[in-house]
Symmetry: C2
Subunit: 203 residues, 2 copies
């Protein structure tokens, strides 16, 4: 029996997907939102955590990093199977950085998900080939870690002065970072750079 934890924020969708998976005789399925998945004291960690990487919470403090720290090396010994889309390389890269063993496109069929779960439960890597191009892009994120910090704050609506204070930089340095971000993303201006980076799931 493979115990599966399905982490997705929309109850309607995760309940339907959990019901689908639960029809398989070898799968036992729990489901939770990101917030609850990472915060809950599971009596026993599931064997496989299937995580929808597109939720904004997946990148947050109760997101994949905490879930992974608890389930994969800490409280339990789960493996991660990431649900992602080829068009948004950011979430794909975050899953890779946390050592996910499986990667499935959200445009795959539920039957492929069943197959992927069985494979990673056996300790095998599983990569849906339709994600290939996304992986190439994910390897090529053009922004540095510091540029991503600046961009994240800008995307939250912080002014240049606020970003500077928050990261202990001068206003001029923040302006230089923003100019470099705009250039590297091929954007027309700062708002456009935020739009492009959000679309790719970088911030």
């Amino acid at each position: 029996m493979i115990r599966v934890l399905l982490v997705q924020d929309t109850y309607l969708l995760r309940a339907a997907l959990a019901a689908f998976l639960g029809r398989e005789p070898d799968l036992e399925v729990l489901s939770a939102s990101w917030e609850h998945a990472a915060a809950t004291s599971w009596a026993r960690w599931p064997d496989v955590c299937v995580v929808d990487m597109d939720s904004p919470d997946a990148a947050g403090p109760r997101g994949l990093r905490e879930l992974s720290a608890r389930c994969c090396a800490g409280d339990g010994t789960s493996v991660l199977l990431a649900l992602a889309t080829a068009e948004r390389p950011g979430p794909l890269r975050r899953a890779y950085e946390e050592g996910a063993l499986g990667y499935l496109s959200k445009n795959a069929s539920p039957d492929q998900l069943v197959e992927g779960i069985r494979r990673v439960a056996k300790g095998e890597r599983y990569i849906d080939e339709s994600l290939g191009y996304g992986f190439l892009e994910a390897a090529e994120i053009p922004l540095t870690r510091r540029e991503l910090s600046v961009l994240s704050l800008a995307a939250e609506g912080s002014s240049i002065g606020e970003i500077a204070r928050s990261l202990h930089l001068s206003n001029g340095t923040v302006r230089n970072y923003l100019a470099s971000i705009t250039r590297k993303t091929g954007a027309r201006n700062r708002v456009d750079a935020i739009r492009i980076s959000r679309g790719a799931g970088w911030v």
Copy 2:
């Protein structure tokens, strides 16, 4: 027998939800992405169109307006059941403007969706009570139609000059609109106004 068309952009999720609905003896379920739902020549329009309003495509040219024009008054006589979230009043309002008969929170259970489908198929209004607060907010959108046009272009990364040319306004008028938008949304600046409005689903 109730024929249902489920419109949602993520194949994995809509296939699982369609499989769940398809287990009901009185439901026959088709599913499609927004793009295909509006473009397909359905042999016979379904009785109920269940539409996930959170997709960016729902507000686009192949979105709810076209689907509604074709299925509800044109080619067919379907009724609309909108899936939405109380936190994002914009999509809720768009569904209301297109005359949706049913409204269900995406945090409802799949069984509630079955109930909602049966109710609207009989021509009854169905409103999930957890959406109540969202409806209050949807009725109170603080921005005018013109301000929304300006904001949409700004959110796509257009500069003030580009917005002005595109809407046949002066740069000063565009600046005034952006100042008014920033004030009305309680934002700190233009980027923050875009963030807040996107969060609410207004643009």
